[in-house]
Subunit: 176 residues, 2 copies
């Protein structure tokens, strides 16, 4: 599938609503479930997505548009949410994520990106040169990947409960 | 996580809303995407979930409650949706799924299942004896597994578009 900005926006704008339907009001047995030590719960994932809205997707877009490859992106803290989400309720995180995402997509639309802009490059600290188009496609794939993580964590909570059906549910059976 | 009927219901009742937020109005480039020949698109998955509502989850629950292990469950057709969904719009499938799921959960609640009922057994044609609790836990895990499949299929559509970031997105990189 070729990248089209409109296709990307239609997914990015619905992620907050998907997460709300999936998670708002869930008992902690689901929302705080993990896949074991040092793995993330659905609650942790929402905090990670918030941190991405604040420090990754729009800021890096602006670096690409303003500075190109002249300096590498600041690195992204994959563990910031453990401190930032502490003491917060899941519903509060879902609201924060929805507000940040809406504001970021408004700004993205405001750039009026052209095909030429999408081909512009930035410099990733580890991956090297990357285009704005690759960065925006990654935003979409990252959302989808973390929705997948949330449902996997929840599903695996029932690995024992499903009994022999585990053999028919690859999501439960693969290694953690 | 131990199985509790209330925890299961809270997930089962939100699946139609999650799918609606994820899929309603999506361009066909997303909704009809697959992972290659003989793999399912998001559209196909919704048809599969409809078939499960019609022929699997409630009917097998009733067989367990009424007939126990005396006869095996009828087998489930994993490909029925290809004929049943033909010519339909995705929004129509989402509506049908929501109506069937709501009706099935009403019936499930109406059974007033006790701990004793959850321990009752049926006979799966391949897996052998299974409890009602395992059957209902599988309903939940099956929902979550197919939501995971839908976002995986969508995310993998951008496998090329993300460029070097593929290395950071295991959902795109693992074998199909």
């Amino acid at each position: 599938m070729r990248f089209e900005l409109g296709d990307a926006l239609v997914v990015l704008e619905r992620t907050p609503r998907v997460l709300r339907e999936l998670l708002a009001g869930l008992p902690d047995a689901w929302a705080r479930a993990t896949e074991g030590p040092d793995t993330w719960s659905p609650f942790d994932v929402v905090g990670h997505l918030i941190h991405g809205e604040r420090t990754d997707w729009l800021p890096r877009t602006e670096i690409i548009l303003r500075e190109g490859e002249s300096r590498p992106f600041p690195s992204f803290d994959r563990f910031a949410q453990f401190e930032a989400s502490r003491g917060k309720r899941l519903e509060e995180l879902l609201d924060t994520f929805a507000e940040l995402r809406a504001a970021n997509l408004d700004r993205l639309r405001g750039f009026g990106l052209t095909a030429g802009d999408l081909a512009r490059k930035g410099r990733h600290p580890e991956l090297g040169p990357v285009t704005l188009e690759q960065h925006l496609a990654t935003w979409v794939a990252h959302d989808l990947s973390h929705i997948g993580q949330i449902v996997r964590v929840m599903g695996r909570s029932y690995t024992d409960a499903v009994g022999p059906w585990r053999a028919y549910l690859p999501m439960l059976g693969s290694q953690r």
